[in-house]
């Protein structure tokens, strides 16, 4: 299998996964107990009114034709109309997604860089003080729930030393510029939560690579430790960490729920909770599909990076692909 075919196969699988995920989401939402039309109209609605609404919502048609319509709409960015506000789902979701990116992108950039760096340091200095400190910190960060980190940071920086806003007061009407000061604390929590996993993965991968023959050879031929790590160990050590990084980035974009709710930040996580509370089915479907797409694309990006870094992967099937 040559390079182009390997890339093509992965892109196809990614697309298939997104479509399958959308099907599961759609079917699951359809299977929810309770008649949406009756729920919207209340208990005393006349049967005629319920029937009319069912027709408007398309609930009287069979599942597959509704799924086809919904999928075609979703591809064009039309996710239907919110059951709560009556407005199209798309624009609201886009705003929330953008706001989530505002805290997620800095968290990813800072978190991944820092985590890879610390992971390499811990791996190279295995068993020394630096390693112990880094590993212990990572373990503690993994074990403290995000809602606690968020609570502690609010206490420190918004109440004891009031330098940053604790919560966003304007809610979903806030513009990105107004949001900027509120971005810091949520982003810090996300950074810490995510970095812990990447540090551990990078450390273990570095330890593994540092004991390989080619690294020992590089050391023996007199390269400085920095050169050995940067030019020989790092490229190999990064490879297995890519998947972990991708999973964490995907988690970040879908799982900002806790952080956004503690800080009342108007992103996708908060929208998620609100739409579940309100049983806003089109919104739930849209959020699930967008998150699934982000997850799949992150994994695809990791696969592509791996292909670029390691030519061997282009010629044979990946072990667990």
């Amino acid at each position: 299998m040559n390079g182009a075919a390997a890339v093509g196969r992965r892109v196809l699988i990614a697309l298939l996964t997104i479509v399958l995920a959308s099907l599961f989401v759609f079917l699951a939402v359809q299977a929810l107990p309770g008649d949406v039309a009756r729920q919207l109209l209340g208990q005393d609605a006349t049967p005629e009114a319920v029937a009319a609404l069912r027709e408007t919502l398309g609930l009287d048609r069979d599942v597959w034709s509704r799924y086809a319509d919904w999928l075609l709409g979703a591809v064009r960015g039309d996710f239907g109309v919110s059951l709560v506000s009556g407005a199209p789902v798309g624009p609201d979701l886009l705003t929330a997604f953008g706001n989530s990116l505002l805290i997620a992108v800095p968290a990813v950039l800072v978190g991944i860089t820092l985590a890879l760096l610390l992971g390499v340091v811990a791996g190279v200095r295995r068993g020394r003080a630096a390693d112990t400190a880094i590993s212990l910190t990572a373990l503690v960060l993994m074990s403290v729930p995000e809602f606690m980190m968020a609570t502690v940071l609010v206490l420190l920086f918004a109440i004891l030393f009031p330098v940053l806003p604790a919560v966003v007061l304007r809610g979903s009407e806030a513009t990105p510029v107004e949001l900027l000061p509120s971005v810091v604390l949520p982003a810090v929590v996300l950074t810490l939560a995510m970095a812990a996993y990447v540090v551990r993965s990078m450390r273990s991968s570095t330890i593994d690579v540092m004991s390989r023959e080619f690294v020992v050879t590089a050391e023996l031929k007199g390269l400085s430790p920095l050169q050995v790590v940067r030019r020989h160990a790092l490229p190999s050590a990064l490879l297995p960490v890519l998947d972990v990084v991708a999973l964490n980035v995907a988690w970040l974009l879908g799982g900002v729920v806790v952080v956004e709710n503690v800080f009342n930040y108007p992103g996708m996580g908060k929208l998620m909770i609100e739409s579940v509370h309100n049983r806003d089915l089109p919104m739930i479907e849209a959020i699930a599909v967008v998150s699934a797409a982000v997850y799949v694309l992150c994994n695809l990006a990791a696969d592509m990076t791996a292909l670029a870094l390691d030519p061997r992967l282009r010629t044979r099937r990946r072990r667990s692909a």
Partner: protein
């Protein structure tokens, strides 16, 4: 089926005795298991350990600091914090134990069988699992719990559904390495049937991966259960649950800090214990744990 001969691999310990001997010389594993054991013990003895009912309110004694009667003080309803923390451990351990065991068992079986099948079925199951994995965990949990009303069994069911695909993926990866071994080929040549090969040849040899997976998933499930409760989708008040306690008490963090700190310390020590157990196990059993790991 009637022949008693069984291939044993020398490097993978499969007997209980081997497992215990793995404890020796691994301080990480010992500390981890000790922390978990301590939590189990506290949870089992919780009803007798404190003289207070975790849900009884006392309007005359609210937001108190530690006293002789209430060792960790009381919350805004006058409930004993120590008693709530200890009972919270029962809830956390029960949900975690059930959900993790079922999810790991289901994922292990599916993973082994599809790896052994190694045909269109394997491909279909893995595509389905990948698609399920891509749907955000928290959203799936929230929807299931909202629809079915949160009680212990619903939370267990929801977590099982959400975690099975991830376990399947990991176990399948390990099982694929096993099925290329000679003893599997030999069993196949003897004419053994698929269920027998999976149970007797593959399962014992992926058990190390499964054990590590169990400890690691458990640490996430503890956090997830607390998070669900914190968001108001898990345990119903006044159930003593760590996540719920933090949610109830964090507004009074500066007045009675112990109301928030105590459940978090309990939660964190349990998760650290599970994490150390997973680390220790993976080191002893030679499973590369960090590479499997990611936030879920």
């Amino acid at each position: 089926m009637t022949t008693p001969e069984r291939e044993q691999t020398p490097h993978t310990p499969t007997t209980v005795r081997d497992r215990f001997s793995a404890l020796r010389g691994s301080p990480t594993l010992v500390v981890g298991l000790a922390l978990v054991a301590l939590h189990v013990l506290l949870a089992l003895t919780a009803p007798w350990a404190t003289g207070h009912d975790p849900v009884v309110t006392d309007s005359g004694d609210v937001l108190s600091w530690p006293t002789a009667a209430h060792w960790l003080g009381t919350d805004q309803y006058g409930r004993d914090i120590l008693s709530r923390v200890l009972h919270g451990g029962r809830y956390a351990l029960a949900v975690t134990g059930l959900a993790t065991t079922v999810a790991v068992a289901a994922g292990t079986l599916i993973g082994c069988f599809t790896a052994y099948a190694d045909n269109w079925l394997d491909e279909v199951v893995m595509r389905v699992m990948d698609a399920l994995l891509s749907i955000p965990t928290v959203l799936a949990l929230l929807v299931v719990v909202t629809v079915l009303d949160p009680d212990l069994w619903v939370v267990v069911l929801a977590i099982t559904v959400v975690y099975t695909p991830a376990v399947t993926r990991v176990v399948r990866g390990a099982a694929r390495a096993v099925i290329t071994q000679d003893y599997v080929t030999a069993a196949r040549a003897r004419g053994e049937r698929a269920p027998s090969i999976v149970v007797r040849e593959i399962l014992p040899n992926v058990l190390d991966v499964v054990l590590v997976e169990l400890a690691m998933r458990a640490s996430w499930v503890v956090l997830l259960v607390a998070t669900l409760s914190f968001l108001g989708f898990g345990a119903n008040p006044p159930t003593p649950d760590w996540g719920l306690m933090v949610e109830e008490n964090r507004t009074a963090l500066t007045v009675v800090p112990l109301g928030t700190i105590a459940p978090v310390v309990a939660l964190a020590t349990l998760v650290v214990g599970l994490n150390l157990s997973a680390d220790g196990l993976s080191k002893r059993l030679g499973v590369d744990r960090a590479q499997q790991g990611a936030a879920a």
